[in-house]
């Protein structure tokens, strides 16, 4: 298991710390979604549990530790994730982990704990981890993964060494995407905010069709056509997290174009239509719409009714188009 090419600096930093025996016991892997933080964490966990890593520190894949790692039965690796994707990490698995954390490792090497996503820990789960996070026994490494570290307790963040991941340069990302067999790399990368793994996940005809449909609905509303409630009914079935992410991307592009268009657009294929809209719509209304999209994205994690959330947002889009129409 190797880290992705754009993660080389972080990898070198950790391997150097490990070789110098200065590895911090709690690492917070922080960066936008789709940058391969989980892959990185798994590669590093494998390297820690491997008996004979190569000169770059990558796990050998042949020793007992590596074989158990691959089978997913390594006794010194502890994975903590929400029971259902999108839900909180509850206190029970954290308590169980803390109970076992004081024990010696089974294969005599490192003990690795991986918490993904770390910001999903609820308040009591996070609090029961604190003591362990502060004073772990020797040879313990905890890897916390989060795309939204600000949602975590400050007391957790301050006990971790932060390892930041930024989107790779477009050239590096495009080259990697090409090697994965992606044809339309530039468009996908733009849609994914520069995150290569996210772009790869978008490389699917269904997703592209969905984007086309959603985009035409959305632009239709902004141009004063279409029925917001009917559209909300259709959108409800899709991946809402993704839709909200796209909407914020579209709005940012329109806003960018209305103020001169210096920034490279996330949706290179739509520049013309966006420019027309940018000239017509009221900037203030667009900004408040963007706020609403962000607010909606946060709301998705809670227990709000997604249908109502969508209707509320799309009616706001209609409103934005109306306000702008009145101004002109």
């Amino acid at each position: 298991m190797q880290p992705h090419p754009w993660q080389a600096p972080q990898w070198r930093q950790l391997i150097a710390a490990k070789q110098a025996d200065r590895l911090h016991h709690a690492l917070l892997l922080d960066g936008a979604q789709g940058l391969g933080k989980r892959d990185f964490a798994e590669a590093f966990a494998a390297a820690l549990l491997c008996a004979a890593p190569d000169e770059e520190g990558v796990a050998c894949g042949k020793c007992k530790g590596c074989l158990l790692f691959k089978a997913g039965t390594h006794p010194d690796l502890h994975l903590i994730a929400p029971e259902e994707a999108g839900k909180d990490i509850l206190v029970a698995p954290i308590r169980e982990h803390v109970q076992r954390a004081g024990l010696s490792s089974q294969l005599g090497g490192y003990k690795v704990t991986l918490i993904d996503p770390a910001d999903a820990m609820n308040l009591s789960a996070a609090n029961s981890l604190l003591k362990n996070l502060e004073e772990p026994v020797s040879w313990t490494v905890m890897l916390l993964i989060s795309a939204h570290p600000s949602r975590m307790l400050a007391t957790i963040r301050s006990r971790c060494q932060r390892l930041q991941f930024a989107p790779p340069s477009p050239e590096l990302a495009l080259e990697w995407l090409q090697r994965q067999g992606v044809v339309d790399g530039r468009l996908l990368l733009g849609m994914a905010g520069g995150a290569p793994l996210r772009a790869l996940a978008l490389n699917d005809d269904g997703v592209l069709a969905m984007r086309r449909e959603a985009l035409s609905d959305f632009l239709g509303l902004l141009e004063g056509r279409g029925d917001a409630v009917e559209i909300a009914g259709r959108w409800e079935k899709h991946d809402l997290e993704r839709l909200f992410y796209w909407m914020s991307g579209w709005l940012i592009d329109i806003l960018g174009l209305s103020s001169g268009g210096a920034r490279s657009p996330a949706n290179p294929d739509m520049v013309e239509r966006f420019t027309a809209l940018a000239a017509r719509l009221d900037g203030r209304a667009l900004f408040s719409l963007l706020d609403k999209v962000h607010e909606g994205r946060r709301g998705l994690r809670g227990s709000l009714n997604p249908r109502l959330l969508l209707e509320d947002l799309l009616l706001a889009v209609v409103q934005c188009a109306k306000v702008s129409g009145g101004n002109r």
């Binding site: 803390v98 954390a101 004081g102 024990l103 010696s104 005599g108 003591k131």
Partner: protein
């Protein structure tokens, strides 16, 4: 590969090994038993990644090799077929056929190389004790271990190996129990055995004369008891210096009849605060008065005859701790040392200096 085993010869070791497997498992392989066969005997291995149990069973016939079987289902099958039956196990790539008498079963198997069994490393220390002695050392102290304490090193038992003796120590910060036995050792050292393993060991040890070997590696402890091998991880931590907690036998001891005192404490405890279990003890010459009251202002008072010739003392204790200690002592008479109302209490059986117990006082 195929093996044939006799139901009666394997049932008991099978149940023993399957006993360490946890019912709720996140990793499917952990709900399986590993069989390592050498043609004449098979070793069965069960683990929950914290403790591992191995037992040797005789084979009627069979090949060499290893495989896994679902622990609970296979144990149930062995338990429910008729006594004396021979069980034939024929393991294929993803199914194992189990035949016994007229019953036929087909069980799912998993790759034995994925089984997280322990590598046997050379021990760095070894102590040898009589089985009954070790059992006593564990039983006289284990009740004082902490349960789910954040001070993780208290959730277990200390085995303190000194040149002339071996001592077991357990404490939860409120009370402490220690037992020692003479035993000459070349390499002194300390190990911390986790709570779960200690409880498992108490089930394995019997009042037998034979010797038990305890092998200690850097990360594990291994006990060989008859044909069963028990291996546990160790707690990776430093135990507090327990000798500093044990008060010296200063001043006048209070000598009491153990059973009479225990019964009196049990009666008094009925009206103590259910949560904090505090009672007051007033000691005057040759008399001990136990006082308890609860939030409803109900009161209990009891007097016990003791031998004491010292100053008047008044001190509060958790009655549950006292009852547990008196239950662990074998002698008919017990001795208590209490220096003053703020100091901890030292208890031990009359003239038995090997088992000592310390209870911290509480304000009642």
């Amino acid at each position: 590969m195929k093996i044939v085993i006799n139901r009666d010869a394997v049932l008991e070791p099978l149940q023993l090994v399957a006993g360490v497997i946890e019912r709720k498992q996140t990793l499917p392989i952990l709900s399986n038993l590993l069989f390592i066969c050498d043609g004449e005997e098979a070793e069965i291995v069960g683990t929950d990644t914290e403790v591992e149990m191995r037992a040797r069973i005789p084979l009627v016939s069979g090949e060499s090799g290893s495989f896994t079987l679902p622990a609970k289902k296979f144990t149930e099958i062995c338990k429910t077929i008729s006594e004396g039956d021979e069980i034939r196990v024929d393991v294929g790539t993803d199914r194992a056929k189990v035949n016994a008498g007229k019953s036929r079963f087909s069980l799912g198997v998993l790759d034995p190389s994925d089984f997280p069994s322990l590598e046997t490393t050379a021990p760095i220390n070894r102590i040898t004790l009589e089985e009954a002695t070790l059992k006593q050392m564990v039983e006289k102290t284990h009740f004082a271990m902490a349960i789910q304490d954040v001070r993780y090193y208290l959730n277990g038992m200390l085995v303190d190996i000194q040149e002339e003796l071996v001592a077991t120590v357990a404490t939860d910060g409120h009370r402490l129990a220690t037992n020692r036995t003479a035993c000459s050792n070349e390499t002194p050292g300390q190990i911390l055995v986790p709570r779960k393993a200690v409880l498992e060991i108490t089930r394995l040890l019997k009042d037998r004369k034979g010797m038990v070997e305890m092998d200690i590696t850097a990360t594990h402890v291994r006990l060989q008891i008859g044909n069963v091998t028990f291996i546990s991880k160790l707690i990776d931590g430093r135990y507090p210096d327990y000798n500093r907690v044990i008060p010296r036998e200063m001043g006048e001891p209070i000598t009491a009849d153990r059973e009479a005192l225990r019964q009196a404490l049990i009666r008094t405890s009925i009206l103590s605060n259910e949560k904090f279990r505090g009672i007051n003890i007033e000691i005057t010459k040759d008399n001990m008065k136990l006082l308890a009251h609860n939030p409803e202002q109900e009161e209990a008072e009891e007097e016990v005859e003791v031998e004491y010739d010292g100053e008047r003392l008044s001190v509060g204790f958790n009655v549950g701790y006292m009852i547990e200690v008196l239950g662990a002592i074998d002698e008919d008479k017990v001795q208590l040392w209490i220096a003053n109302s703020q100091s901890s209490c030292l208890l031990r059986g009359y003239n038995n200096e090997d088992s000592r117990y310390v209870i911290m006082p509480m304000r009642v």
